[in-house]
């Protein structure tokens, strides 16, 4: 499927989806947190899309919102896309887990929880993965301060 066909397919499932293609090699589909789980399941299970491989899961901290970023690939259709979730509550971001759809999301979501503080509903084991368990704060957030370790210029 090319970007246009994907766009049509996704718009059929979730008409409110926002699409961006400029400045990216992939089709970007931006949805809201409540729409994520159902759409992700359709993208994985539907014969036409069949995204059976998540090759990246990360998060971006914007001044007003958090953005979850999922890179998806279909190994039999050989097409890729980026699924994004805009989370308006930047202080307490919550989104559904996708680790029951793509198993790899389990560790990657723990990493995002560790460094950005995004909470994942229904995640089986949401603990810090890289930092110490008693670490305060989320170091990859733009407003993170650490007067001892961070030297800023």
């Amino acid at each position: 499927m090319d970007s246009e066909a994907l766009k049509k397919q996704i718009a059929g499932w979730e008409p409110t989806t926002e699409f961006v293609e400029e400045g990216s090699q992939y089709l970007n589909a931006i949805v809201s947190p409540p729409q994520l789980k159902a759409l992700a399941l359709k993208l994985r299970e539907d014969e036409a899309t069949h995204f059976n491989f998540m090759f990246s899961l990360t998060c971006v901290d914007y001044p007003e919102h958090m953005m979850m970023v999922y890179h998806l690939r279909s190994l039999n259709h050989k097409h890729e896309m980026v699924l994004k979730v805009k989370i308006d509550d930047r202080e307490n971001p919550v989104v559904d887990t996708l680790c029951d759809i793509w198993r790899t999301a389990e560790y990657l979501e723990r990493e995002v929880y560790d460094l950005f503080g995004v909470k994942f509903n229904n995640h089986p084991d949401l603990r810090r993965i890289l930092l110490d368990d008693d670490w305060k704060g989320y170091p990859l957030r733009k407003d993170y301060v650490d007067p001892i370790n961070i030297v800023s210029y």
């Binding site: 110490d132 170091p139 993170y144 650490d146 370790n149 030297v151």
Partner: protein
């Protein structure tokens, strides 16, 4: 039957710290000082600990491999346990979580022990000096460092020069010098 002293002297390496005198019965008498002979043997048999935390370790392995071959200087036997090692090449970034591990490894090495800080990260935190919540800004915050090898990462030639400087330092040391304890290092003495 006389003994050819000049012939016997020819078999002694040029940098041997002392005089070898044939005893006449097939044996030799060596005239030297303890400092000289101990430093000579220590500096020419430095076993590094197998320790590398990031990309500098790739260059370190290259230094050990056939082309540059640091075994020419007595560094060939990389040991996987600090109990058998003489020195650490800190090859890579030290993060806050790694710091206590490095400290313990250093403590476990038997005296005399030496440290080479290889690359920008081990010297000062390097590219992670600013705006990093996790990187130690220089391995010398944790353990004393003998030789700093700058570079990002340093070329094998640079590391070889660094370890030769370390050998030079060892040869200039004396048993009479008191070695500093880790407690003194922590106090900044």
């Amino acid at each position: 039957m006389g003994i050819d002293i000049q012939q016997a002297q020819k078999n002694v390496p040029e940098d041997f710290p002392g005089q070898v005198i044939p005893a006449g019965n097939g044996g030799n008498i060596v005239v030297t000082s303890f400092d000289k002979i101990i430093n000579w043997s220590r500096s020419n048999s430095l076993w590094p600990l197998t320790f590398g935390t990031s990309c500098c370790a790739i260059e370190m392995r290259q230094t050990g491999a056939a082309r540059h071959d640091w075994s020419r200087f007595g560094f060939e036997v990389a040991r996987a346990t600090p109990r058998q090692a003489d020195m650490i090449v800190i090859a890579g970034t030290i993060v806050n979580k790694m710091a206590p591990v490095l400290r313990r490894l250093y403590e476990q090495i038997a005296d005399p022990k030496y440290v080479v800080a290889m690359g920008a990260c081990a010297i000062s935190g390097g590219p992670f000096f600013y705006n990093s919540y996790s990187v130690v800004k220089g391995a010398d915050h944790i353990i004393p460092v003998d030789v700093y090898v700058p570079g990002c990462p340093p070329r094998p030639e640079a590391l070889l020069y660094g370890i030769m400087q370390l050998q030079k330092k060892i040869r200039a040391s004396s048993m009479k010098d008191e070695s500093k304890s880790l407690e003194e290092f922590d106090k900044g003495l």
